[in-house]
């Protein structure tokens, strides 16, 4: 069996016709990666998708070899976990089915990742938000002097469209979103959880994504439900280290 370098996992729900530009950007980035000699698996995870979305993605599958996984989670983080479990690649790159990758994302991220042995989650340098309230959003590298962990407590520092080793995603999976318990922001929670494990979050210079800002987005629903991210022992551990104490406790 051929070694797969990257599994490009597209998480779909009910995006309908908005899937088209996502698929175009996926095709373009995968094509660039394959031209650079990388083996890329395309894996769609359809979580409670509607007919239209399923049809759009099936149509894509007729022209490009793709794998499909139908799940019934109703939860984006858990769908990403299912994708990571089913994926064959050494690395995983996540794409939500209404967002878009820049052309050089897979090649750039793979190059950066394969040149650094450390446990790292890679993010693009820049995000262009389009749709409602167009703006730019710059990611900060954890090794940038401007960054510190305390800022990650105040704000989420990165978007969810990351690039990471599959083994890391299996070791530290995303947590369930529980709006009823005011636990949300699955990506922020995952960034806190991976950081607590000593994983670095870094940016791939010269790469960018386009993120669709919808009037009703998951982030807005999460914010309306007055959620916080899942709690983390990250900050307690900082205090333990400061105090010379041994960290003995379990993740809450």
């Amino acid at each position: 069996m051929q070694r797969v370098d990257i599994s490009a996992i597209v998480n779909a729900h009910r995006e309908g016709l908005l899937v088209k530009p996502t698929l175009d950007s996926l095709s373009q980035a995968v094509h660039s990666a394959r031209e650079a000699g990388l083996h890329v698996q395309i894996l769609f995870v359809l979580d409670r998708s509607d007919e239209l979305t399923r049809e759009m993605i099936s149509e894509f599958g007729r022209s490009q070899a793709s794998d499909f996984l139908e799940v019934d989670h109703g939860d984006l983080g858990i769908s990403r976990n299912s994708g990571a479990t089913a994926a064959e690649g050494e690395y995983i790159a996540f794409l939500d089915a209404d967002d878009m990758w820049g052309k050089n994302w897979l090649t750039g991220a793979y190059r950066a990742a394969s040149n650094d042995e450390r446990q790292i989650v890679w993010h693009p340098e820049l995000n262009v938000y389009f749709g409602a309230n167009p703006h730019l959003f710059k990611h900060t590298d954890m090794e940038d002097p401007l960054y510190n962990h305390l800022k990650l407590g105040v704000n989420n520092q990165w978007t969810a469209l990351c690039f990471a080793r599959r083994s890391l995603l299996l070791e530290v999976p995303y947590s369930e979103t529980r709006l009823d318990l005011q636990i949300g922001y699955e990506d922020w929670g995952w960034h806190l959880a991976t950081t607590a494990k000593g994983v670095l979050h870094k940016v791939v210079l010269g790469t960018a994504h386009a993120i669709r800002n919808k009037e009703v987005s998951l982030v807005r629903q999460t914010s309306a439900a007055r959620c916080l991210p899942r709690s983390t022992s990250l900050f307690r551990e900082i205090l333990y280290r400061k105090n010379g104490q041994q960290v003995v406790e379990q993740e809450p």
Partner: protein, 510 residues
């Protein structure tokens, strides 16, 4: 020129490469930029965007000032944005051009015609909140399993309750086991009430002008970072708002406790306070609500129709008397001399100063010494009364009721319109001064016909005066009531009884 050069934001080589006409003219690039370039909207270097700077700040644009010079001299200090780095603009432009071919929401949006004018968000940028949070967290040297939030540290009953709770935690878990956080104001008059070994943080020390929203976030961040087993809110507005907004989320992290004492009332007599504005939303997320008297617990349960499953959630913990409130004699009344009466409290509507003044006016044979302070109209009325009547003296502020010379008085007069269980009554009861009190809140749990004089007509001076006259007439009766009151305080309000009640599970201190 020197300042601009030293800033590093002017890059001569870059300037010439981006503006070939300047290179061709063979002029000094910095001189060109300072004289003409900035007026022509040219970028002085990859890290400064003058056009964007002037677009963002119309006050500078209208003053026709060189944007780079302004940034170097003032803008940097004023925390203005130097603009988006050139590399980022190029990156965004490339992405917009490339993905615009797939997505009309990008290609067709005029906002993307001038990418350099878009807002650039950066989550790692410093804000007053991140700076305050970084300072606050950096000041911590250890973790805490218990955190107490208070609005301020003035000499009030609620602050005493919070200080007692801190003392109780330390008695169980040792020094450094509790973090005491002052959230809403920077007043710390009662800092000496905190027990030794109680660590204190005052949010205003990290940002004196912090908004209420930022204070709420700091409370949440402290809980999110420390993951304490339990937190106790004693009247902190920031903490009540955190409980109200994120009660469920915070109760996933810690056991949430709160203390309430009574409802407050405004000038129109409308009930208010956290019992009205926050409790119904928050109670389901609280492990326990502590109140200091049964009457209030009963009234809350009845008023809100609290179901049986939540009844255990409201616990009565009677506050202990002060360690300085030892037994003392009171002054026996001497015939022919005015009865010396002590009144002490904040000069506020709650303490019903107006009734006090009517009593003073109607009872010229009784001498009233008034301890306390206040502001505004009530204060003015008291000062006016002291000038007009011989039988009232204003004695100024006091640190605690135990510090007053109670042995010089024959009675303690308490006129409040609403209360929980005032610690003043507890301490006066133990010290041994006949008490004449309004029947509000939980006071009847201590003061009754056996132990003092309880007045239910809150606005009529006559029953108060009659009670004081009875004390003057019948010192034997006053003596026996004082003795029974002492006994009652001893059985209900000892430190041991308080600790035993506080330790009942689930408990903030266990």
């Amino acid at each position: 020129l020197n300042a601009v050069q030293a800033s590093g934001l002017f890059d001569a080589e870059w300037y010439l490469s981006q503006h070939p006409d300047v290179a061709a003219a063979k002029v000094d690039p910095l001189t060109h930029y300072m004289k003409r370039g900035w007026r022509e909207g040219r970028r002085p270097g990859p890290a400064f965007d003058g056009q964007r700077y002037l677009a963002l700040y119309p006050d500078i644009a209208s003053a026709n000032i060189n944007p780079l010079l302004h940034y170097v001299r003032h803008g940097k200090q004023e925390r203005r944005s130097p603009g988006i780095a050139y590399e980022l603009i190029s990156l965004a432009e490339e992405l917009v051009e490339n993905l615009g071919q797939f997505e009309l929401d990008i290609a067709g949006d005029p906002a993307f015609k001038h990418v350099q004018h878009l807002h650039l968000a950066s989550p790692s940028a410093d804000t007053p909140l991140t700076k305050a949070w970084e300072q606050l967290f950096s000041s911590l040297t250890r973790t805490y399993e218990r955190v107490i939030f208070v609005p301020w540290l003035v000499r009030g009953g609620a602050e005493l309750v919070a200080a007692n709770a801190a003392r109780a935690v330390i008695s169980q878990h040792g020094p450094g086991s509790v973090l005491f956080v002052v959230t809403d104001h920077d007043r710390l008059e009662a800092i000496d009430w905190l027990p030794v070994g109680c660590d204190l943080r005052v949010l205003s020390e990290y940002d004196p002008t912090a908004s209420h929203e930022d204070r709420v976030r700091l409370v949440e961040l402290l809980m999110f970072a420390l993951l304490p087993k339990s937190v106790l809110n004693v009247n902190s507005r920031a903490c009540w708002d955190a409980f109200k907004t994120h009660g469920q989320a915070l109760s996933n992290i810690s056991n949430l406790y709160a203390a309430l004492f009574c409802r407050d009332y405004d000038d129109a007599g409308t009930p208010g306070g956290y019992a009205v504005s926050h409790l119904r939303t928050c109670l389901p997320h609280l492990t326990k609500l502590y109140v200091d008297n049964s009457s209030f617990a009963k009234s809350l349960a009845e008023h809100y129709g609290v179901p049986a499953t939540l009844h255990d959630c409201i616990a009565v913990i009677r506050q202990p008397w002060s360690g300085n409130a030892g037994e003392r004699p009171f002054r026996q009344h001497q015939d022919g001399r005015p009865l010396p009466v002590l009144w002490a409290g904040r000069f506020s509507r709650q303490k019903n100063v107006d009734l006090l003044l009517r009593i003073v006016e109607a009872a010229p044979n009784i001498q009233f010494d008034v301890f306390g302070e206040g502001t505004g109209a009530i204060n003015d009325r008291l000062i006016g009364a002291a000038q007009n009547f011989d039988n009232i003296r204003l004695k100024g502020p006091y640190s605690s009721i135990e510090a007053l010379p109670t042995h010089r008085y024959s009675a303690f007069l308490f006129t409040s319109l609403w209360e929980g269980m005032p610690t003043t009554i507890i301490n006066v009861g133990l010290m041994g001064l006949p008490i004449v009190s309004s029947n509000v809140g939980g006071i009847s749990e201590l003061v009754n016909d056996d132990t003092g004089w309880l007045i239910s007509d809150l606005h009529n001076p006559n029953p108060y005066i009659q009670a004081l006259q009875e004390i003057a007439r019948d010192s034997g009766k006053a003596q026996s009531k004082v003795a029974r009151m002492r006994e009652r305080v001893r059985s209900l309000h000892s430190w041991e009884a308080y600790l035993a009640e506080f330790a009942k599970l689930p408990s903030f201190i266990q």
